[in-house]
Amino acid sequence: MTMTDSAPVAVTEAAAGPEPAGAARWVTTNDCRIVGRAFMAVSLVLGVGAAAVGVLTRVERLDPSAPDQILGGLNSWFQMWTLYRAAFVLLVVLPLFLGLAMAVVPGKLGADNLAFPRAAQASFWAWLIGSLIVVVSVFAGGGWGAMDGVTAAERDAMTLTLLGAGLVIVALLSGAVNLATTVISLRPAGMSLLQVPLFAWSMLVSAVVWLFTLPVAAANIVVVYADLRGRDPVAFGLPESPGIWGQLDWLVEQPAVYALAVPVLGIAGEIVPDRLGIRLDRRGAAASIIGLFGLLAVGGWSQDYFTAPADHRDELLYVGVGVAAVVVVLAFCGALADAARRGSVRLQEMPSSALAGSALAVVLLAGATFFGALRVIKPFELLERSTTTGVFNAVVAAALIGTAAGVWHWWPEILSRPPSESRGRLAVLLLLAGGVLLAASDVIAGFLGAGDRPFVGDYDSGAVGGLNAVAVAGSVLLVLGLIAAAAAVFETMRPDRPDGPGAGDAAAAGLLRGAGS
């Protein structure tokens, strides 16, 4: 056992062992780029699935007389309704940003890898396993509550959904801590935090916001789990609506819903000036705006479940945060508009998907915060209306468009070849159209009295029924947009054959792009 008995030349290349190849490399690697790509690839697939679930729930709502024609009953409808929301938060948007940041941020800071490469690997696999548990358990009768009573088996499945969601949250938190540590500790010497690239800064802010948000959701899950596993659910774990979902719905409402979109500002803050060939004026102010928006997106305090009948949402703080968010995002829009004014925007030329996508994502986010501000103003009485879902859909669409813009802009860090520009524009256009139609129909329906909860409120009157049809079209466009983005990304994610026709294209295109910028 003693090494002093060994010859000094004992350490050879063979001792280091060969690096695995193929599928084994994907499983065992802790390379931040591969882990980031894996996060994004799986998130895109899950995103298509979640958007398809959204289409089904929208189609079901077209016929108010029978909520069981497609999905098979009120409980199934509620499961899909909650799955759509929870999946877009935990299984799609947050991991998409996490994957993009893992692939891009270390390179921007001059680092070879993340601060904790193995933790990144573990966070991806734990997130993947947790996601599978969530999806399988929901389709096995679980989910985040029910509207029409539950059997013992369904209660077990609900428990499994909660545990899967808990595992997903732990994995996302691990990834967020990893990213924050990378930005803080691996940046070059002499570079202050406010000087790091805006996307890296926005991910640091997002990580902090998620650290303030997701543990609260995990605590909610623990409370529900403990009560649900008891002999008789007392109060917190009542499977029937609003028992379980009522404790988690704050995640998809203001202000916590804005935590999904903080990186959008960082993406646009980098891409727009870069594509216009200028430097962002008052960069420190832009970074401060991102930080302020992150501060306004901390939302664990606003949940109303434990304070009923008193409601935090009636207080001035809640209203003030909701109104301040729109002001902050509009200020960032102003910074981007100033960049566009000073840059070389030519309206007769088709903008690149990265430039158009990042700018449109911020505009859509501004729209979301505007309707969010209307939602919190008391006289409108929109808190329990479908406006809530409208704001959520707008934020999600902005996040998806922003991520697509980031992938198309930083493709050398993520893909093997440049993705098709026309497909990028198509994906951005479809996602934008889908997000706008979904958000607008829900917001307007909210003003007309449509409730946010399933089959609650005036959801089937003539005007609202028409808006439901518009929402169906919007959700279909969202699915198509995600499919277009996923197809373009998957096609270019595969490495070229060394002797294939595309060999060297990536490097050449990278050089051209570098020269152009």
Binding site: M3, T4, R118, A122, F124, L128, I129, D156, L163
Partner: protein, 267 residues
């Protein structure tokens, strides 16, 4: 100079000792029983206390060996291998332990609903993966040479890993094979045992005669055989045992009847 290997194992000794004391007192140990290893009083639950004390003793022994022979000492290792010392930003070796930790966490989550045994299995996976993960992380920063680091890590962990993996493999093979043999009929049990033994003998013969050429083939066949054994064992366990004649029960019941009859008669 205390070597890194000594620090690691001495830390484990301290942790296991503390765990043994806590467990001893928590499970009913008397005032000085757990401190005096049971010499002056009870230690609580003997099995758990004994396992923890044994682990502490083993860790202490390994730590003393490491510091006495300067094994797993990164500076000495670097000097021997001619490496440039410890890199400030070392490359992190790839591995599957983080994946195993994630699978363990998922298994534990599912086990909370399905069965406590599954939950325990998941926890064991997590703990094992974290121990291996810790050792990998330590080895990454030991010297500036990745090959030397891997060698260093293997020197410390291989004496622990190989016996554990061997014991697990033997346990799985024995368990799975026994489930299969008691699930099929007596005749088929003989046939299965004969065929499997013949296959093992043939594989070993081929490997011995052509070690280089047949290595991949044997490895592939080994994986297939292991999977078949595990799947077959699970299926056999689900199916249940075949009907065995219960001679002992009959004897017991007969003798019991006789005894009760005698008792009645005597009464």
């Amino acid at each position: 100079m205390l070597t890194p290997g000594f620090k690691l194992f001495f830390g484990m000794f301290a942790a296991f000792t503390a765990a043994a004391l806590v467990y001893g007192y928590a499970s009913g140990g008397s005032h000085v029983g757990p401190i005096s290893l049971g010499w002056k009083g009870g230690v609580g639950d003997h099995i758990g206390y004994g396992v923890l004390v044994s682990l502490a003793a083993a860790s202490l022994a390994v730590s003393l060996v490491l510091v006495a022979f300067r094994d797993a000492d990164s500076e000495a290792q670097a000097a021997l291998s001619g490496a440039d010392g410890i890199s400030p930003n070392p490359a992190v070796a790839s591995g599957f332990w983080p994946v195993a930790a994630a699978f363990g966490a998922g298994t534990a989550a599912v086990g909370l609903v399905l069965h406590p045994l599954v939950f325990g299995l998941g926890l064991v996976m997590v703990v094992l993966a974290l121990v291996e993960w810790t050792m990998d992380a330590w080895a990454d920063r030991a010297t500036g040479d990745p090959a030397a680091n891997r060698e260093l890590r293997n020197r410390v962990m291989a004496p622990v890993e190989i016996p554990i993996v061997g014991a697990l493999a033997v346990g799985v093979v024995v368990l799975a094979a026994s489930r299969i043999l008691i699930a099929v009929s007596a005749l088929w049990a003989v046939v299965v045992a004969g065929v499997v033994s013949t296959l093992i003998l043939a594989g070993a013969f081929v490997y011995a005669t052509r070690p280089g050429q047949a290595r991949k083939l044997i490895a592939g066949l080994g994986v297939v055989a292991a999977l078949g054994l595990v799947v077959g064992g699970v299926l056999a366990a689900v199916t249940g045992e075949r009907d065995f004649p219960h001679h002992e029960d009959e004897i017991h019941s007969e003798s019991g009847a006789e005894e009760s009859g005698a008792g009645d008669g005597g009464g």
